[in-house]
């Protein structure tokens, strides 16, 4: 597939017939893949409005195949007629939702702060701790990316029990910070490298301290990169399941754990599961559409020289 595409794109100048074939092929492939990407999302959203019969008969198009109903959302307490009534499920959902928000925002912020500082130091100054030089320190940070969660999970389970951090949001925030720190340092190093050193030298001559130069001169320039790193970190933390499943039980449970805990039970309530899944993916879907530019910036940092 890949090869033919270039073939057509380059040959489009050669003849009108092959130009049209290439257009048809390219748009066909694009639409096909767009369907693959969107259909599961479409299916989930529509299923949250279906009743049991509509699910089992595989009805797909609302108003044509089936009559939409607020059933799934009512079971979550989020439908128009139930939104003002008390609902334990809704309370539970909002509690999990807030846990997710607090842990992912907290962890991303902490990672951005300490990660940016470290990345700045590593790009601008020469360090020497015992026999570790800059390259070694950078490698130390980035190598954390390889560390699989499963290696840390069990020791942390025991350690967190000892220090009383099990099932707390702080505990999750610390772990998530560790998880996204290498990525933040990777992105920010790339950012700071692209800022000319002369700017800071001028600031130092004007009498700013090195920290003053960092906060007043470098930070404003590197802000887009920080936003990119922050959003990427947010996405990773929001979707994290492994640590959350092991280290939380009642208080600090996050949305993915809540979603997963419903799937295991027999006789799934399709509509309520679909509503829950929709609510779980909605915030990130919105972020993805609105801040796509930053996401791409974060993901491609350092990939292309």
């Amino acid at each position: 597939m890949s090869v033919q595409t270039t073939e057509y794109t380059v040959s489009e100048i050669r003849s009108p017939a092959s130009f049209i074939t290439s257009r048809v092929f390219i748009y066909g492939a694009l639409v096909f893949w767009a369907l693959i990407c969107l259909f599961p999302i479409y299916w989930t959203i529509t299923t949250s409005f279906k009743s049991a019969v509509d699910v089992t008969q595989g009805h797909l198009i609302p108003f044509v195949d089936f009559q939409p109903d607020w059933k799934g959302w009512r079971s979550l307490g989020l439908s128009p007629d139930s939104i003002f009534q008390t609902s334990t499920v809704r309370d539970e959902f909002f509690k999990r939702f807030m846990n997710s928000v607090i842990t992912s925002v907290g962890a991303s912020s902490l990672a951005i702060v300490i990660g940016s500082l470290a990345a700045y130091g590593l790009t601008r100054y020469r360090y020497k701790f015992a026999w570790f030089k800059n390259e070694d320190i950078s490698f130390f940070f980035l190598s954390q990316l390889i560390l699989p969660p499963v290696v840390l999970a069990l020791p942390f389970l025991v350690l967190y029990r000892e220090v009383g951090l099990l099932d707390t949001r702080i505990g999750l925030i610390l772990l998530y910070t560790l998880m996204v720190l290498p990525i933040v340092i990777w992105i920010m190093r790339d950012q700071f490298n692209s800022i000319p050193v002369e700017l800071e030298e001028a600031a130092l001559v004007d009498g700013l301290s090195i920290w003053g130069a960092f906060f007043r001169i470098v930070m404003p320039i590197a802000l887009p990169g920080m936003v990119a790193a922050f959003i990427l970190a947010m996405v990773l933390c929001w979707n994290e399941y492994f640590f959350a499943a092991l280290l939380t039980s009642t208080d600090a449970k996050t949305i993915p754990v809540m979603v997963a805990s419903q799937t295991g039970s027999q006789g799934i309530n399709w509509w309520s599961m679909a509503a829950l899944a929709t609510a779980a993916i909605a915030p990130l879907a919105v972020i993805g559409i609105a801040l796509e530019r930053y996401l791409i910036m974060g993901m491609t940092a350092g990939a292309v020289k």
């Binding site: 890949s2 270039t6 073939e7 057509y8 794109t9 380059v10 489009e12 390219i26 694009l30 767009a34 969107l38 599961p40 999302i41 299916w43 300490i114 500082l117 470290a118 130091g121 100054y125 360090y127 130390f140 954390q144 990316l145 390889i146 560390l147 699989p148 499963v150 290696v151 999970a153 069990l154 020791p155 389970l157 000892e162 220090v163 009383g164 951090l165 910070t177 560790l178 130092l204 301290s209 090195i210 920290w211 003053g212 399941y241 492994f242 499943a245 092991l246 993915p256 997963a260 799937t263 599961m273 899944a277 993916i281 990130l284 879907a285 993805g288 796509e292 993901m299 491609t300 990939a303």
Partner: protein, 376 residues
């Protein structure tokens, strides 16, 4: 604490190059050393008191180890203050690096060392006997464990699937790089799966779209002539289904990196190739592909690193079934803990996995370096 903070604050406002380290007054240096020494003593004392309390030698102490964490944080702060006091501007520079360094060391080195210790114990959280050192017993048990071997073998298959993902991602990147309308729309749509939580995805696709009786994917498969579209009951098909689920989420990741590579490629080279009369097939293999090699290698290696952590989809869709056939190492260890509370053995498996992937990734990086150098 407050007194020290008051004394340290002015240093931040001083012009950076005004205080070289040899001009620091000896009194300030002494103060710096005193702060660091006091903090170190405080940290050690806290740890000592806690150890004595926990081993019931002493009656004074804390219920949990949390004060030790606070002591460590205070020690870190004091270390930073001490650095600035004793080394002036050099200390201020060190301050950039210290927080991340202290954080990572505390969060990685200590737990990993602790993990190696747990790995050598017989420790089941659900039994009453508690922790018992048993040397390499876990290791020998691991060597004879067919399920672990199977999980490792699955990891090889899952990693190999990255190559297929790469081909698809490259194709999509080329599509997005072609002269098309609504490029931004397609890019956002193609990126979508990456944003979604794997757990939600496993429900949306694994549990509902691929549902045997009335999932749309199963219905489609029946229409295409597959009589018995059970995606998760045959070991091989189940593995492929897991690969597809994971690929669906992560193809956009490679696609975006490759797209960035394609967009950074200079137009002149492609023009030159066309002027020289190269066919598009030749242009791709002789020009585009070699030029894209460094980006491709980065993308594939990053993807492999993420793939090695694969767990959540398997845990939520198949929980390793049928009969452990789809288990990744992570999901297997997860169940070893969740279902059997076998902390000692599970940790041994995890540590062995860590060693294996560190060796593997190091080898991969070496190989990639040589590969890129040879082709270019």
């Amino acid at each position: 604490m407050r007194r020290v903070a008051d004394q340290i604050l002015p240093t931040n406002d001083w012009p950076a190059n005004a205080v070289p380290s040899d001009l620091i007054p000896p009194g300030r240096k002494r103060l710096g050393w005193a702060v660091m020494a006091a903090a170190t003593l405080g940290l050690l004392a806290t740890i000592l008191v806690q150890i004595l309390y926990k081993s019931e030698v002493d009656t004074i102490g804390f219920e949990t180890w949390r004060p030790v964490v606070y002591a460590y944080v205070l020690w870190g702060v004091a270390l930073g203050i001490g650095q600035v006091l004793t080394r002036g501007e050099d200390g201020q520079r060190a301050l950039f690096l210290l927080p991340a360094l202290l954080f990572t060391i505390a969060m990685v080195i200590f737990p990993t060392l602790f993990g190696f210790y747990i790995a050598l114990t017989d420790w089941n959280l659900s039994s009453f006997s508690g922790r018992r050192f048993n040397g390499l017993d876990n290791f020998w048990q691991m060597l004879g464990d067919p399920y672990y071997r199977n999980a490792l073998f699955n990891m090889v298959l899952y990693v190999l699937a990255v190559l297929v993902e790469y081909v698809i991602a490259f194709g999509l990147a080329l599509l997005l790089n072609a002269q098309i309308r609504a490029r931004k729309f397609f890019r956002v749509v193609f990126l979508m799966p990456l944003m979604l939580s794997p757990v939600a995805v496993s429900w949306m696709i694994g549990k509902s779209l691929m549902e045997y009786r009335f999932g749309p994917a199963a219905t489609l498969a029946r229409h295409l002539g597959w009589d018995n579209p059970a995606f998760f009951s045959d070991p091989i098909i189940a593995r492929i289904s897991i690969m597809i689920l994971d690929a669906w989420t992560f193809i956009p990741f490679m696609m975006i990196m490759l797209l960035a590579g394609l967009q950074a490629m200079s137009r002149e080279v492609l023009e030159a190739a066309r002027v020289d009369g190269a066919t598009t097939w030749q242009t791709f293999w002789q020009v585009t592909f070699p030029l894209m090699l460094p980006v491709s290698v980065t993308a594939v290696i990053l993807r492999i690193i993420f793939k090695l952590k694969l767990a959540d989809i398997i845990i939520t869709v198949t929980s390793g079934g049928p009969g452990g056939a789809t288990d990744s190492v992570s999901s297997f260890i997860y169940r070893e803990y969740r279902d059997r509370s076998n902390v000692g053995y599970g940790t041994m498996l995890a540590m062995a996995y860590l060693v294996i992937i560190v060796v593997f990734v190091t080898w991969l990086l070496k190989l990639a370096n040589r590969f890129v150098r040879n082709v270019n």
